[in-house]
Symmetry: C2
Subunit: 348 residues, 2 copies
DNA sequence: GATTCAAAGCGTAACAGTTTCATTTTGAAG
DNA sequence: CTTCAAAATGAAACTGTTACGCTTTGAATC
């Protein structure tokens, strides 16, 4: 195995020049650089030590190995993060703290050992890890969640206000019994959506009915089951707000199977992270957040934070938008419900 | 800024011990390790040089920055890769060859500089880059594509045979005019699917009609437009095979909009990378590949290849499966088509 | 109880690459 | 021809790692 010294000796130049040439540093003539690189190739030179790759951002998930498949939101977020990171000439690497961190190591030591300069972190509800890392003053950005800890940087979307607007829209159409179908894992975003729902009802003078609030997993079968249980109520809702894209899709699918016409028999407001609302039948009215640009913005901030040491706390809250599509209309005169046999009936 | 020597001096031990302690190497007592790590934390020690993080697999995409959003297939593949890589105690990092590689550098030099030991590569049709890297004998695995170059390792799914089976299924149901709706970007997988379609028709003694083969982008609007142009033919198909999940979804969506009943008025066979076929209305009959396990297997192989130097060529071809769901049936007696005004009509 | 022996723990010194700073070279302006 | 600044380079100092050898420890064996 060859070393910089051998190559330097071979070419009759100094090790410093070889090192500079290998690392694309300035101060080496183009001709010397080529000679060095060719010699390195010829002697199969492999740096055995060398500076750690710089400009690397770590992406940390709370659980390892990534146990569930990467969903719609995660994929869109990752797209954005990658784009932002590339734009700023950084690389992105997945880090598994759960697997690789030694107990006695501080997080800062761990990340330095892994060769990352800063961290983008996803937290599924539990922000204690982020807070711990932020306390060490290692550059970290929590994405798509928030924390009360004053040291934690985060960027997320608020869907509380837009959720209120969405439910108001239903109220204005004349709906009085409006269901809420939520994710059964509590995080701040879903809390906000629930709060928005409550506020809209309270403002409209409509009492909140606990029966109309259901929870399930954030996937299509969760959506189906939530729709089913809502429609099995004696006094079913005429409109439902699904706070998650996949459950919205599942619910719409279930409606098609039941032969229930959306929006004539039931109005549905959904949630969308990307463009799912436009790819369903019917296209659904939704509270929309742009996960791609959330990721992009996160990457842009963390890359600059990785370079300028002391940065002030960053807390960006991005608005969500409310977009009316084809899944909401005036309430049905004869609200649909599912009877004991699982059949669709219309109440009078 | 402190160094290993300062810490060693402070604790009255040697630099070797400090170095070993910092890198979780054996040969250091637990007590000494703790003292070192605490001192390192106290003096804010940051290794300025140090060994590059080992056990890192690079993920390379042909185009940079990842210009399109990460789609269904890419997300599923990435899930699998991550899981496989984690399982083998490696890390995964995104590498941008287009952006960072210096022209005079060999790929091997470039990857060493980036600190990656092996590469998983996606190629969208053009395999010349993989071949070039494989020629340097750098460990690389092409995933979800293949190459004729005898040095290239690859893992992919064959959908040719299963596509033939899918079209045979339609033939057996009685269909004679069967459309093919393809991705307009040529890669080996889509070539195979087309070949399977052709074979099935030829075997059944049905002449291939070029009018029935259409191409568009692999997304929902591509699916819609392909369906539309097929149904606008004077002699429209009674069944169509869509070789891509998103275009299948787009076509099904378009059918719902047109009021065209699938499978009564038109049979549709689609393609699925994960579980999309079960989340549509109706659930669609599909040629299915498991992108997650493809990624897992890819990660497992490349991690072992990254360690044992000379490995024999690896070429795994995974079967796809054909799954009958609700979108295929006997051909309609009155095939549907779209007239000049864009309305649905039934031919007699 | 003495002996043996292997493993664990640690230090010295050699080694790998990088970077600072001084020196030389180059090239263009005066 | 001189001057001077920028570019290119080298010597030496510096960073972190590792091979190898020494010491200690503790348990098995005689």
């Amino acid at each position: 195995m060859s070393s910089v010294r051998q190559i330097a000796g071979e070419l009759g130049i100094s090790v410093a020049t070889v090192s500079r040439a290998m690392n694309q540093h300035a101060g080496v003539s183009e001709e010397t650089r080529k000679r060095v690189l060719m010699a390195a190739d010829k002697y199969q030179y492999r740096p055995s030590m060398g500076r750690k790759p710089t400009n690397v951002i770590g992406l940390v998930y709370p659980e390892e190995p990534v146990h569930s498949d990467i969903g719609d939101f995660e994929a869109a977020l990752l797209s954005g993060i990658l784009r932002g990171v590339y734009e700023k000439n950084h690389d992105l690497t997945f880090i598994s703290a759960a697997r690789d961190k030694h107990v006695d190591e501080t997080y800062t030591q761990f990340f330095h050992r892994k060769g990352v300069r800063a961290i983008i972190m996803r937290s599924l509800g539990d922000t204690s890890l982020v807070e711990q890392i932020a306390a060490e003053e290692f550059p970290i950005l929590l994405v798509a969640d928030r924390s009360d800890d004053p040291r934690v940087n985060f960027i997320h979307s608020t869907s509380g206000d837009t959720s209120r607007k969405a439910v108001q829209h239903l109220v204005e159409l004349g709906h009085k019994r409006i269901g809420l179908a939520m994710h059964n894992v509590v995080d701040t975003d879903h809390e906000d959506r629930k709060a928005g729902y409550m506020n809209a009802l309270t403002e409209a003078g409509i009492a909140v009915d606990a029966d109309l609030i259901v929870e399930a997993e954030a996937n299509t079968s969760g959506g189906e089951s939530m729709l089913t249980s809502l429609l099995q109520l004696d006094n079913p809702p005429t409109a439902v707000y699904f706070t998650n894209p996949m459950s919205t899709i599942g619910a719409l699918h279930k409606c098609l199977k039941l032969g229930l016409n959306v929006p004539r028999d039931l109005s549905i407001v959904g949630f969308d992270d990307s463009v799912t609302r436009l790819q369903s039948f019917p296209r659904y009215t939704a509270v929309c957040q742009d996960a791609v640009s959330l990721g992009e913005e996160a990457a842009r901030w963390i890359t600059t934070a990785a370079q300028n040491e002391s940065q002030s706390v960053f807390r960006e809250v991005r608005p969500t938008t409310f977009e009316i599509q084809e899944s909401t209309a005036y309430p049905s005169m004869t609200p649909a419900r599912i009877d004991a046999d699982g059949n669709l009936v219309h109440t009078v």
